[in-house]
Symmetry: C3
Subunit: 136 residues, 3 copies
């Protein structure tokens, strides 16, 4: 059995944001056993799983990825949409735009410290469309 | 319901290639609702989703990844298959060799600017085997 | 049809480890056609697919990722759990904590050279919980 929900995430600041509870609220009820697929319909934002307790982890993610892919690198050709654009595309493919999470006993089967990060790589990314697909 | 198709992609030049239409052609008909899983059966090629309009994005991907993982790094031990080999393995695990895409209303539910990139990391990669699995 | 198995992987040395046979042993029988999802319930370990023959590939992965994300980088704020902690979180999101593999003819449909790597990013990671979800 497959259920799908598409929704818009309101604009987020550039950075890494914990959205585990937001996703849980979108899913009224979970099956006993299954999988949840989360897809971001954009090429300059991403989704990943990481540490859900200490907010400095998310800050360190932002700093690290900005150093890994510096804006204004002189070899970029795709520059017409701003200095944050090409780095955003690269970050999106390194982090990924979709994940799948097991569902067990009517809950997402994440580890104790695992949370879902929405990753906004643009300065002004605007609304972001997300598709949830659950199968059981 | 699960459908599977395995096919060979003819040799591609080293670089990032848009294969959205090619994948669509392999799938005669899509279900109303479901998921499509794409798996590359190789360890020196990858698959990702990114910007489908401006070809310079794909060029910037190639340049960035070559700078991120330089060939002939003096600490590589796995060098017998050529200088492009070990960097290809690393790129494959950073980009990933499989993705899952939601299917909605008989179509892949990608964002307006999302396309599927086949990533050839070897200089002469040859044919590449791809498995499509669709469930609905 | 969905089957799920959760198990603990005994402590592994920091590094990249081939676990294809271990995963196969956990799965008593595979369906004719389907998908296998593997999820690591941790934020400082990962899972990926890569070259299964030459052990120096796994050594080069360890060296490369240590150079990509150096310990003791002076801008890290999340440092209370040791110098290997923040780099582990970053590696986990770059490599990823889950993969999906096609099942064809009662076997994982991996390429000839593809093996499953468990990636332990901590010096003393301890037991690691893994969830296998198979659907057919």
């Amino acid at each position: 059995m497959i259920q799908q929900i598409e929704f818009s995430l309101p604009p987020c600041k550039r950075g890494f944001h914990l959205i585990t509870s937001l996703i849980e609220k979108k899913l009224e009820s979970l099956p006993e056993k299954g999988l949840l697929h989360i897809h971001i319909k954009h090429t300059s934002a991403g989704i990943t799983i990481n540490e859900n307790a200490d907010p400095t982890v998310r800050l360190d993610f932002e700093t690290f990825f900005n150093k890994l892919i510096p804006e204004n690198s002189n070899y970029f050709k795709h520059t017409s949409e701003g200095s944050d654009d090409m780095p955003s595309h690269l970050k999106a493919s390194i982090i990924g735009q979709n994940i799948t999470i097991p569902i067990t006993n009517y809950r997402m089967n994440l580890g104790t410290w695992q949370g879902i990060y929405f990753c906004e790589f643009r300065d002004f990314g605007g609304d972001r469309k997300i598709v949830l697909t659950m199968y059981s």
